[in-house]
């Protein structure tokens, strides 16, 4: 059972040990040349153009959230569309189910829209 996983543990220890050993060795043996180019963060060899901590407008998060909601909707709609024809022979249940789902989602969208979350100013 759990002993079956011992090889994985061994590989894990070996990998971690190797990585650590290489880092430690280069730290101990490596030459140290300090100049401004070497101390600057690596950015594909190009000079730095600014700080990494850029403030991003909160609107992007709103857009991202909306995107996720509609993304999930698509994920749900695809399998539904595939089986739609087969299930239609049992009545309109399948159609009503999706209509309810889309209504709630659409209501949320209308709400967000009316509240002005999509205004970019």
């Amino acid at each position: 059972m759990i002993s079956d996983y011992i090889p994985i543990l061994v590989v894990f220890i070996l990998a971690a040990g190797f990585a650590f050993a290489i880092l430690a060795l280069s730290h101990i043996l490596g030459p140290r040349v300090k100049n401004s180019v070497k101390l600057s963060p690596y950015e594909s060899g190009v000079d730095l153009v600014g700080k990494t901590r850029v403030r991003i407008s909160i609107r992007y998060f709103l857009i991202a959230l909306l995107f996720i909601i509609f993304d999930i909707e698509i994920v749900f709609l695809f399998p539904w569309a595939v089986v739609f024809k087969d299930f239609l022979s049992f009545g309109w249940t399948i159609f009503i189910e999706m209509a309810v789902f889309l209504f709630i989602l659409g209501f949320g969208f209308l709400y967000v829209w009316k509240k002005g979350a999509l205004e970019w100013e």
């Binding site: 059972m1 759990i2 087969d86 049992f90 009545g91 249940t93 709400y111």
Partner: protein
């Protein structure tokens, strides 16, 4: 292929209360969209939908259904909790009628809609018969609460508590999920009955991983109901949140947490009761003592009540330790009484609050001479929280402790009773401030008729269940019998 394999008419009838709440929430949001600040209308729709949903839910008393292929169960146990959540929801809505305006906020439609969504989530938590449904309900509840806690957007403390609650809550959810994953991995199912049968038939992959899974589930629940050492969030959140939200936060979600925790351990892991007994013993002990001692030194009434609710969670833990019919029915009784007491206490505190004032012990000095009825009800709630007879708090503690004594937890009960004695100090301190001290400047309550009626009903029911607890005890025993 037949559709009834997946989905029947009965399934839909079963979740009718949830559907009513959803429709109610959508109506409130539409009012908010098209006719802004119609506070009375939104409050009306909110209460009406809770009442209708409660009506549909109470029809299930006495019968029991398994819906959605064992995903959801409806029986007296779940119905008892449904009605508890709905009562808490209604009282919270009444309390918050103009509370947020007094604190410089705005009662928007989202507020009432979120309470309805939270109620839906809690109902799923105790109706769920599957780890996935419990998780779903817990998330629906938590996400609504995160927003409600931060509803005073201009208040720094409200924002702080919302962020704290969100971060720690998300972390605790991770524990719960990891636990659920381990249980699923070792038993191959998330359905409670199937988990139980896998354990009794010894069809589990690894005992260690299963225990680890159960432990992690317990951590997740312990966070939600604020057991020590997972209680650190609760004082800050309870203090920072709008008082009307705190009233909701420390009653219904706590009941839901205990309800789901009980159900998981009663239905899914009954065979392992002996294994986690010591753990629960220690949790109960720690929770009682730490909660009590921290409550002793508070100067803020809301913070004191937050620690007091931690202590009460410790008492409730004793019931989970017992886990027989008596213990479970005692927990249900205690949860209901505890909710009524706290809703009343926070209701009164919220209507005395004004900007910065009204939350410290000192502000209550001399209140009784100006507002005798209000002080009398607050004193009643405090005495009931401390467990004095003839209030319902006494009966609740008595049934809980006696169930544990009959199972032989003598030492734990001695410590619990000593804790109860200590707790008298901080509850009675408020009464002493109201009745035996005088002050030039007393608090001015913002009473409106509906709120007076609600507080009156809460106070009467505390007395009623204290003097004549028979009917309620019969009901909870019947509910407890389902799973024990």
């Amino acid at each position: 292929m037949d559709l009834s394999l997946y989905f029947t008419r009965q399934d839909l009838w079963g979740i009718l209360p949830e559907i009513v709440l959803l429709v109610g929430a959508l109506i409130i949001l539409s009012i908010e969209l098209f006719a802004r600040s119609q506070r009375a209308a939104m409050l009306g729709v909110g209460i009406l939908s809770l009442v209708i949903a409660g009506g549909f839910a109470s029809k299930n008393f006495g019968s029991s259904f398994i819906l959605f292929q064992g995903m959801v169960t409806l029986n007296d146990y779940s119905t008892f909790f449904d009605l508890l959540y709905m009562t808490a929801g209604i009282v919270t809505m009444v309390i918050s009628y103009n509370y947020l305006e007094r604190k410089g906020g705005e009662t928007r439609g989202e507020y009432f809609a979120l309470i309805l969504f939270a109620t839906m989530g809690m109902m799923l938590m105790t109706r769920g018969n599957d780890l996935v449904i419990i998780f779903l309900g817990m998330e629906l509840l938590s996400l609504s609460l995160y927003v409600l806690v931060g509803f005073l957007r201009h208040d720094v403390f409200s924002n702080e508590s919302a962020i704290k609650y969100l971060l720690l809550g998300a972390f605790a959810t991770g524990f719960f999920l990891f636990g659920a994953v381990l249980v699923y991995g070792t038993t191959g199912t998330t359905n409670f009955q199937h988990i139980a049968s896998a354990i009794t038939n010894n069809e589990i992959l690894s005992d260690t991983l299963l225990s680890l899974g159960i432990g992690l589930l317990l951590v997740g629940f312990a966070f939600k109901v604020a057991l020590v050492p997972f209680h650190m969030w609760s004082p800050d959140v309870y203090q920072g949140a709008p008082t009307s939200v705190t009233a909701f936060l420390c009653t219904a979600p706590k009941a839901a947490g205990f309800g789901a925790l009980l159900k998981v351990f009663l239905v899914a892991f009954p065979a392992l009761h002996a294994d986690w007994q010591d753990l629960l013993w220690a949790l109960a002990l720690l929770t009682m003592i730490v909660g009590n001692i921290s409550a002793l030194v508070q100067t803020n009434v809301k913070r004191m009540l937050a620690f007091s609710s931690v202590t009460h969670a410790g008492y409730l833990c004793i019931g989970i330790l017992v886990l027989n019919e008596m213990g479970v029915s005692a927990i249900l009784f205690y949860l209901l009484v505890y909710s009524v007491m706290n809703l009343g206490a926070f209701g009164i505190i919220s209507l005395l609050e004004k900007e910065e004032k009204g939350v410290n012990f000192k502000d209550y000095e001399g209140l009784a001479s100006k507002h005798p009825w209000l002080s009398a009800s607050l004193a009643l709630f405090m005495l009931s929280l401390a467990g004095f007879p003839p209030t319902a708090g006494f009966v609740a503690k008595y049934t809980l402790f006696s169930s544990a004594i009959s199972e032989g937890y003598i030492w734990l009960i001695i410590i619990a009773i000593l804790n109860t004695l200590v707790s008298v100090y901080y509850y009675v301190r408020l009464i002493v401030n109201m009745y035996m001290r005088t002050s030039e400047e007393t608090l001015v309550p913002f009473l409106h008729p509906l709120l007076s009626v609600v507080i009156f009903i809460l106070a009467i029911s505390i007395m009623f269940f204290g003097v004549l607890p028979g009917w309620l005890i019969d009901t909870v025993t019947q509910a407890a019998r389902i799973y024990t």
